[in-house]
Assembly symmetry: C2
Homo-oligomer: 246 residues x 2
């Protein structure tokens, strides 16, 4: 109750921070490619459109990686963030539902990042099964169990229609998948210990609708965060960006 540290010397990391880490990661990678050797919290904050104090607090939760008077070593900080995120691990991903969305996901930049490897693609449509999509051939959903014999997938992406989502999820968990990323607009039930996240277009649209009706006067937060951030543009922290991430 009192101690805020886990087994290592690292503090518990708030969800809000975890969501920002990939943003920093991406910016640092870009700065690294641009040959920028060190970054100040101010610069990083400007590029990520957040408060500099927040950047420092976020990073300090991972450890003390900066140099006073100088800033953070770009490459080193990137490394530490990736370490914290665990993207140095191998995370086999299974995608179920190879419609337009599934294809978009498989071909997206998200998967080309280190760590995330397409382990297999599944669908029930005979017209789709057997097709080459991205790096893999689509398999019949009925053969899902066969995958388990080969390897343990870490992440299951559900890109099926809502009606099939729960059943698919159950099957994924059945072969040992410990985390589910759900794109179907429906609430899923998973056993305790299984991670579950949602990405939902219609919620995004409705939230925008809400703020649009209140635009003239509203002043919601202007944070950058995937999925559930909203806001009027932040008070433009300082200046523009040298090399914005592509």
């Amino acid at each position: 109750m009192s101690i805020d540290r886990d087994l290592a010397g690292v503090r518990r990391i708030p969800e809000a921070t975890v969501v920002r880490l990939p943003v920093y990661q991406r910016i640092l990678a870009e700065l690294g490619r641009a040959g920028v050797p060190t970054v100040s919290s101010e610069l990083l904050a400007g590029l990520a459109r957040v408060n500099a104090a927040k950047v420092r607090k976020d990073l300090s939760l991972l450890g003390s990686f900066g140099t006073r008077g100088t800033g953070y070593d770009t490459a080193f900080l990137l490394e530490q963030i990736e370490l914290a995120l665990g993207v140095d691990h191998d995370w086999p991903v299974v995608v179920v539902g190879i419609g337009n969305l599934g294809r978009a996901l498989v071909n997206s930049a998200g998967f080309s990042s280190r760590g995330f490897r397409i382990a297999a693609l599944f669908d029930t449509d005979p017209a789709v099964v057997g097709q080459q999509v991205g790096p893999a051939v689509v398999r019949d959903m009925a053969t899902l169990a066969d995958l388990a014999a080969q390897e343990r997938a870490a992440i299951g992406v559900v890109a099926t229609p809502s009606a099939a989502a729960q059943e698919v999820t159950d099957q994924l968990i059945g072969i040992g998948v410990r985390s589910i990323l759900n794109f179907a607009p429906t609430v899923l039930t998973v056993p305790a210990g299984v991670l579950l996240r949602y990405v939902d277009l219609s919620i995004e649209l409705q939230v925008m609708s809400f703020y649009l009706t209140r635009l003239p006067a509203a002043d919601p937060p202007g944070v950058l965060a995937p999925i559930r951030s909203v806001g009027l543009t932040p008070p433009a922290p300082g200046e523009d960006a040298p090399a914005g991430p592509t």
Copy 2:
């Protein structure tokens, strides 16, 4: 500035609540179709996988729509939520970038909801321009300005590669779009007063990676883990559950 009420007698609605409203909306619509006349905060909370006190607090921010001892009238509450969300308005949506992702979005359930109407689709690829996608024919991005002459789009969806996202965003804002939903994995800059939200697959994957590395030790081969009382299920913009299907 000081009072916590806006022009009507309704309190300022926290972002966190706004994100949950669409979830309640979906559940209520489903319950309505199933013929359930009234809902208690407890039932609604169960279906939305949140705390009942939170449901009551959320709903009380919109007004006092419940009946003590009974609960909320399903149809009436649904109506009030949709009113608050502003989905009764007409929100013309422009989608730019009609690749797999754009197609998936256009055909998704999100757009069939009331209020969101595809105003136009744009792409630069000559092979795509002219194609019928969903309810509209894809136009050449070069003709974007022509749209402005016809009508003012409210929401711009950016589904292009990262490299084009900022330029596309600028053009959308140029024709009067006041809110941008960005699917490209890049930080965008918009003028103050323009709403901006991000949906980013690679961030989702990295967040999962983070939690996966901290999940209690993996269950040994074969055995179903007895699992601890509360699993880490990081907060997500929840979904609803249709009445009963598996």
